[in-house]
């Protein structure tokens, strides 16, 4: 009897997994379930090209909308999975449908972190995760309007840039000293701050929102330090949390996402996870990491699908992402939470550099501003996990690929 493979989460990871199952020759039943109305689409343009009206929605679809029918993939779009019964191997859906599975892939991603700030229910306050969110923000955009962006992580920074590029006056409020402080640290954050400053974004640091005020609709933001910022709308970017509630009864271990091993398997027989929701044991870093970026969803969904077909491939891709802000291209590769030295190759002043996050002389991660070629050439250095001389990393006459081959050969 042929198997039924069910994917919860019609996302980049989930849609890619469904396509992979067919490409790999699986001819059993495939069911793709997603809470959003749309077929799987890519999210990076939602804060950039799509938000600015430069890309139509069709251009962000993972597959053309007739792909799923044509490949015999059953879909339930606009339907939320509410519970998984791991003993009976059934997914329960909003509306009462029960879908039996032999294997289940969880690719539900994240939802915007809930925050409690007085006045947050006023009209004109948005967060950004879905295409519907992006549409709502886009409808507020017109030159000369005033926006407050709360939080200057990647989403906040990109939205602020897109709003400025669309002629909106922007004030950002962030609790740290610089943008992207938590991920990139203070030195690189200063560079990003300078870029935003040069494009006329006002930034308020080391302050937090105390309340949103207005009659029915937001009219101003007040801060803990007593500022009052008049505005026409607000975008809140305070991060996401993985969507795992529906797994509560399965016995799958939840800790900052669903815990999976290097093969993307949970501890529950037949249940896998991939993408933003998966807290994955990464063999290169020797620890669990959860990555909320495009490339991870793009590659991990298909990897999980192959492992559902018993391919037995550990997932070892080095995390990588980009963030375009104004005319600048930022890229990051690797994974780091702490570092003891930042080694800079190129010029921060000229906004053309790669900065290496090192610990014990090993490169854990690298971030590049307008220096993408070197960023890509850093990935083998990160994989090698060998001590590398800082002077050589900085020497622009040395091709990073040479350092990688030396490090790898040792």
């Amino acid at each position: 009897m042929s198997e039924t493979l069910v994917i919860v989460g019609a996302s980049l990871a989930g849609g890619g997994a469904a396509a992979t199952l067919r490409q790999e020759g699986f001819d059993g039943r495939v069911v793709l379930i997603g809470a959003e109305q749309q077929p799987p689409y890519e999210r990076p343009p939602l804060s950039k090209e799509y938000l600015r009206g430069e890309f139509p929605f069709e251009r962000v679809l993972v597959q053309p909308s007739d792909f799923y029918d044509e490949n015999g993939i059953e879909t339930r779009f606009g339907v939320r999975a509410t519970r998984v019964d791991a003993a009976e191997k059934v997914v329960e859906l909003d509306g009462g449908e029960r879908v039996a599975y032999d294997k289940l892939l969880v690719a539900t991603g994240g939802r915007n972190r809930r925050f409690r700030i007085p006045g947050m229910d006023l009209e004109g306050i948005y967060s950004l995760r879905t295409v519907a969110d992006s549409d709502r923000i886009r409808a507020e955009i017109s030159p000369g309007r005033r926006a407050v962006v709360v939080g200057m992580g990647f989403i906040g920074s990109e939205v602020a840039a897109s709003l400025r590029q669309s002629g909106v006056d922007v004030v950002v409020v962030d609790r740290n000293e610089v943008p992207l402080r938590r991920v990139l640290g203070e030195e690189v954050g200063r560079v990003i701050e300078g870029i935003h400053r040069d494009h006329g974004t006002s930034m308020i640091f080391e302050d937090t929102v105390a309340a949103f005020e207005g009659v029915g609709r937001v009219e101003r933001v007040t801060t803990a330090r007593g500022r009052r910022i008049e505005c026409d709308f607000v975008v809140v970017g305070l991060g996401v949390e993985p969507v795992t509630d529906f797994l509560a009864d399965t016995g799958a271990e939840i800790d900052n996402g669903v815990l999976v091993d290097e093969y993307l398997r949970t501890g529950v027989e037949g249940i896998y996870a991939a993408g933003d929701v998966a807290n994955h044991y990464h063999p290169v870093f020797g620890r669990r990491i959860r990555v909320e970026h495009w490339q991870n969803a793009l590659k991990q969904g298909p990897a999980a699908a192959r492992n559902m077909l018993e391919r037995g491939e550990p997932y070892v891709e080095i995390p990588w992402f980009w963030s375009d802000q104004y005319e600048h291209n930022l890229q990051y590769a690797g994974f780091h939470t702490e570092w003891d030295e930042l080694v800079v190759r190129g010029s921060m002043e000229e906004r053309n550099f790669v900065a290496f996050y090192r610990k014990d002389r090993r490169v854990l991660a690298a971030v590049a501003v307008n220096r993408g070629r070197d960023l890509r050439r850093s990935i083998p250095l990160i994989k090698a996990r060998e001590p590398i001389d800082a002077a050589r990393l900085c020497d622009l006459n040395i091709d990073l690929r040479e350092l990688a081959s030396v490090a790898g050969a040792r």
Binding site: E49, W294, W320, W322, D324, N329, Q331, G372, R373, R376
Partner: protein
């Protein structure tokens, strides 16, 4: 009918090297791989970055901005985020000159 345009000396490109040229107002990249010149649009179809500023691995060119990969022999997308192929052009060596049909 567009004909061949000389863009530079063929000997200036090393094996495994890449360079972009202006050919009648279009930026065209040339990659020299295994003794063959491959000419293609320098402008990535995803967001317009210069492919010649990226890396060349065998016959694959990798965009420096977002990692899209194209086959330099036929322009096909090998890896997104780009979805559309890049245009390719005929390239030839006449005497010392590298010529592109643009």
């Amino acid at each position: 009918m567009a004909g061949f345009v000389a863009v530079g000396r063929a000997g200036d490109l090393e094996e495994g090297g890449m360079r972009a040229f202006d050919v009648r107002g279009v930026r065209i990249a040339v990659a020299y791989v295994n003794g063959t010149f491959h000419a293609f649009d320098d402008t990535c179809t995803h967001m317009g970055c210069s492919l010649a500023e990226g890396d060349l691995e065998e016959t694959t060119v990798i965009c420096p901005c977002h990692g899209s990969e194209f086959d330099v022999r036929n322009g096909a997308v090998l890896q997104g985020p780009a979805r559309e192929p890049v245009e390719t052009y005929e390239a030839r060596v006449e005497g010392d000159n590298l010529e592109i049909k643009g």
